[in-house]
């Protein structure tokens, strides 16, 4: 069972460079999310999507963009990398339920901007 797959696992970027963090899920979940986790902290929501073609901002969207052209894929784009974007990025997906929303997470992408 693949679940949620993120690539790459590690990346070092120079200030001003751009990159795309890939995320794909094979569980046919309609909800997908991008979180960032700074050292020793909890998760902050960057963007989320409730289905293909629909995206919305979370708590900390500045400096990021997303797209959701298919149910399976939810890439996160950094256009002009800044040191403040050094973090671990987690993609997650969930299936909308009547009660409770269990989120399944990828293993994370550790990004360093120098």
């Amino acid at each position: 069972n693949a679940g949620v797959t993120q690539t790459p696992k590690f990346r070092i970027l120079k200030i001003g460079q751009s990159m795309t963090l890939q995320c794909t899920q094979d569980m046919n979940h309609n909800y997908m999310y991008w979180y960032r986790q700074d050292p020793g902290m909890g998760l902050k929501l960057i963007y989320y999507s409730v289905g293909a073609g629909i995206t919305d901002k979370g708590e900390v969207p500045n400096g990021y963009n997303v797209s959701r052209s298919t149910t399976e894929d939810f890439p996160l784009r950094l256009e002009l990398a800044a040191p403040s974007q050094t973090s671990v990025y987690f993609c997650a997906s969930s299936y909308s339920r009547g009660l409770g929303t269990e989120a399944f997470f990828g293993q994370g992408t550790r990004l360093t901007v120098v």
Binding site: Y31, G42, A103
Partner: protein
């Protein structure tokens, strides 16, 4: 200010001790979840509670949802080194809605 406040932020205890971590909010949640995250991995769901006053047990872990559905606690009995990790609570304001995470409690259990 986080919508969900977890306490303590850090906890270091000896194997065999008991501990309780808390997740508090001024808002009402339709459901609340606890996740555990190990280094280098994503969070993994431990439990979901949906009813005010609900208590769920998972081996040595006991989870409780407050009567008013604004808070939750996680109690671990006879902690073991394998319990070491970051414990995160997460709440959904409405059924099926996206999760809001707390800041986490980092637990270290020393042998």
């Amino acid at each position: 200010t986080q919508l969900l406040e977890q306490s303590p932020q850090f906890l270091s205890i000896q194997e065999g001790e008991n501990l309780t971590v808390y997740c508090n909010s001024s808002s009402v949640f339709s459901s609340l979840q606890w996740y555990r995250q190990e280094p280098g991995e994503g969070p993994v769901l431990l439990v979901t509670v949906v009813t005010g006053g609900e208590v769920k047990k998972l081996k040595r872990l006991t989870f409780q949802f407050g009567d008013a559905r604004k808070d939750s606690s996680l109690h671990i009995t006879a902690a073991q080194p394998g319990d070491t990790g970051l414990y995160l609570c997460a709440g959904a304001r409405r059924a099926g809605n996206m999760l809001t995470f707390g800041g986490g409690t980092r637990l270290m259990v020393k042998p």
